[in-house]
Amino acid sequence: MDRAAGATPPNLARRVRGLSDRAIAWIFVAPTIFLLLAINIFPLVWTIRLSFTNFRANRPNADVKWIGLRNYERILTDSDIWLTMQATAHFLIWTIFFQVLLGFALAWLINRKFRGNDLWTSIIVLPMMLSPAVVGNFWTFLYQPQIGLFNYAIAFLTGTDPTSFTMIGDVALAPWSIVIVDTWMWTPFVMLICLAGLRSIPDSIYEAAECDRASKWRQFWTITVPLVLPFLMLAVLFRGIENFKMFDLVVQLTGGGPGSTTELTSVNLKREAFEKWRTGYASAYAVILFVTVFGLASIYVKALNRVKER
């Protein structure tokens, strides 16, 4: 150590020693700040700038015109965009509802000590380890009316003809087909978070409740639910943000169809940006989505903090 210190050139050592704490702190955080600016902030600012232009990335040599708020106005008055928002809201609300319900139920069951508990946990979490693109692809086969296992299972349970309905080709069923697959895939994630919450509740609280002769139902509502709630809310936040961005699974499964029934905002945005190459328009679209998600997430995080503080 002494030898290493001794090897440092005296001028440099003096110079470093001469730096203030603040300067040293800046030296340490500067690379991170630089990366943050380069990777996050600059693209954001650039996107905002492009959103006021008619720029097309596939025509780099064309004149770029400043068109003010025209892109924003077009997006917000486009009925098709509102339909994709509706499709996204349907997907978001129902997937979160089912995942929370089933995830919590599974966590509650898994939390009870029984033989093979670990094995079942491993089996249940398998779907979330798969690639969404792969999941989307193989569910198209499961939903196939002539050979699909899903249709045969429904036919077996209801006595209907398996070829009489098509999950991904029917306007009424297609939005549910993506909800089912996403729920199948991501319920284990919610389950794991709920399980962490359940396991964090000290047994002593339940023992105290037992001493007070609280019923199981009362224990559930007054101990389990309030203490798991912050975890559950965290799971909802993660799933909400993820599903707002949902792309690969839906593209593989329905491609946004039939019609635009399952065209979520992210799918629509990708088509505008990288198929139609309306870069300025797509930038405005992205900014609107960013503000929406950021705004909603901020409100939600405040609510989450309030729940935690209770």
Partner: protein, 440 residues
Amino acid sequence: MKKTHQLTAVALTAASAVAGATAQADDLTLCWAAWDPANALIELSKDFEAASGHNMSFEFVPWPNFADRMLNELNSGGKLCDLMIGDSQWIGLGAEAGHYVQLNDFFDAEGISMDDFIPATVTGYSEWPKGTPNYWALPAFGDVVGWTYRKDWFERPELQAEFMDAHGRELAVPQSLEELKDIAEFFQGREIDGTTVYGAAIYTERGSEGITMGVTNALYNYGFEYGNPENAYELEGFVNSSEAAAGLEFYKALYDCCTPPGSSDWYMSENIDAYKSGQVALQMNFAFIWPGVHADANVGGERSGYFPNPAGPGGHFAQLGGQGISVVSYSDSQGAGLEYIKWFAQPEVQARWWELGGYSALRAVVEDPGFATSQPYAQTFLDSMAIVKDFWAEPAYASLLLAMQDHVHKYVVAGEGTAQEALDALVEDWVEVFEDEGKL
């Protein structure tokens, strides 16, 4: 601008001559879609490698991702592809965005004449602006939407008799779209050899270009026009005429009555699978599949027949497919690329191309007296190529295509609104695109 093009072409021609003279080996990458003809091209290109000393490699992307992948490559000025067999609709973008090298002077210098190629392929694959002698590609693969049918089923006496009773005519190749629908309806849900079969596999795919490539075969034949022949960008009353709406209604009726369950997002490969597995009596598909159908163990040989898209009340047309081969302007091996095009344009190479399963667009090949009988589908190919019409090839073709995909799919598959509403909405979107482009 023109001078720049000329200088570039002269430089390229010189480069190609120098490359040829010094026999310097280049590594050439040819980009195309991943499909059967691409395998034939690999085989064919071995002759070029042997003759030129250049090494060929290939980048093939499946059709649903082909446009995405390759247009990204071109738009980013990538050097992956030296030669691009790009879709016919890309020609406007390729020319105007400077992705492709203009080939006029090279053709002149090498004695390659566009008069030697099927006129529809020159217009469709090579020219931009359309109707002007500005060439950006050499017609490489002629293709057109046509129909494949189960000849063996059509020839069954009991089915013949039943069809005759029902329709008062023979169960034979349909002469009109209405007749085609009758046949599809006749087969829908029928038991053949203990299996339930269906009428027709048609294009319904939404994500890329599928349903547009299908529905246009009905639209054209009912009277749909892309615009006023006097003013290409005047759309109202042409795109959304009552005749066009009737064509769209026909396609929806065909989808509703006569397609296999679950075929709401089908394109080329799904149709091939349905046909080869014996699910359908009729299959709409591009002609490129015909060699594969003919060679198939289950449905090939005498079991299948081929016919052009049938006529409708408003005319007789078929959707053009196919592509031209272009030299990518970002390539470092443009000289070798031009050498390849020169080699590919030779009549004997084109004849070999046809033998291997590639559809040559060279008139010397297709007008050869033996061509029509050289394969069971050759005459159908010729008849179909004589009635082709193509989608927009504007630089903004992708926006035009996606709008059509969206509105047509909404009506045909999702059953939303009426045909007239779908086409009115399409006109609105297309007008907006052309306004953005400064063409309106």
